[in-house]
């Protein structure tokens, strides 16, 4: 059935959106940890 491609489109879109958000969170985490490290180095 032709309409099934819409089903997959919807499911893929859902996880794509979640994935993009989680990815941006992960990136922010990485950057923050780097900043923490830099702060720790400066104190010494």
């Amino acid at each position: 059935m032709n309409a099934v491609k819409y089903l997959w489109a919807a499911y893929i879109a859902t996880w794509l959106i979640h994935g993009i958000y989680l990815g941006s969170l992960a990136r922010r985490y990485g950057r923050l940890r780097q900043r923490m490290k830099d702060l720790g180095k400066k104190e010494k």
Binding site: M1, A10, Y11, T14, H18, Y21, L25, R28, L32
Partner: protein
């Protein structure tokens, strides 16, 4: 406590996989729409989760205004952000579902339109938080959240009456639901709720880390000035 999050994340992933299996293979096929109807099992739980998160935001905002607690403010921010993500999914899956079934991308369907307005209100909330530089941002955001919440019933009634004047197709199925479908729907809702908790928790940790880093950096520059 630190280990709870990864364990919950793994459990949630498994639950989501199981819910997916139920939605695609176990749930009975809908008579009129066919397999496309299975979008329902992602569309509706996402909507319920989004509304739940926005409710959390409202409560956190009110608590913040009363107690001025930074934790309440962080919870408000986190629930708004994750709520917008889920809301976006509702707005994307809705039209994808409507197109093959009714031949149109959009309709002034009550739930979809309400979701759109909520999405707009909360995106404006997030923009306010990002563009507002002052230390009073949490207060402003909390007030905006309250205004948004007051708006919701008004939006609901205006759409409801508009639809009685201009009848529109109903996305998401009116009427009664097959108990087997309800079962699958609830499993997916549980899975997505757990997922929302995991994501919110992670985002909350990120926010606390962000604030700690910001504070440490400003303290450091202060010290630097003194020297």
């Amino acid at each position: 406590m630190k280990r709870t999050l990864p364990i919950l994340a793994v459990f949630t992933a498994l639950l989501l996989a199981y819910a997916f299996y139920e939605a695609i293979w176990v749930a009975p096929m809908e008579r009129t729409m066919g397999d496309v109807q299975r979008i329902f099992y992602y569309h509706v739980p996402s909507a319920w989760t989004a509304f739940l998160l926005f409710t959390v935001n409202l409560v956190a905002s009110v608590v913040y205004l009363i107690q001025r607690s930074p934790k309440a403010d962080a919870i408000a921010l986190v629930s708004a952000e994750v709520g917008v993500v889920f809301c976006t999914i509702v707005l994307v899956t809705g039209p994808i579902w409507a197109r093959p079934v009714w031949g149109i991308w959009w309709t002034w369907d009550l739930r979809l339109t309400l979701t759109l307005v909520l999405w707009l209100i909360y995106v404006s909330y997030l923009v306010l938080r990002r563009f507002s530089d002052s230390s009073q941002t949490p207060k402003l955001a909390a007030v905006l959240a309250i205004f948004g919440a007051l708006d919701v019933p008004l939006v609901y009634f205006s759409i409801w009456f508009f639809r009685t004047q201009h009848p529109q197709p109903v996305i998401g199925g009116g009427g009664s639901i097959d108990p087997r479908m309800l079962h699958v729907l609830l499993i997916n809702w549980l899975a997505f709720s757990c997922f929302a908790v995991v994501v919110c928790w992670w985002r909350y940790r990120l926010e606390m880390l962000q604030r700690a880093v910001d504070e440490a950096e400003s303290l450091e520059s202060l010290m630097g000035v003194q020297q």
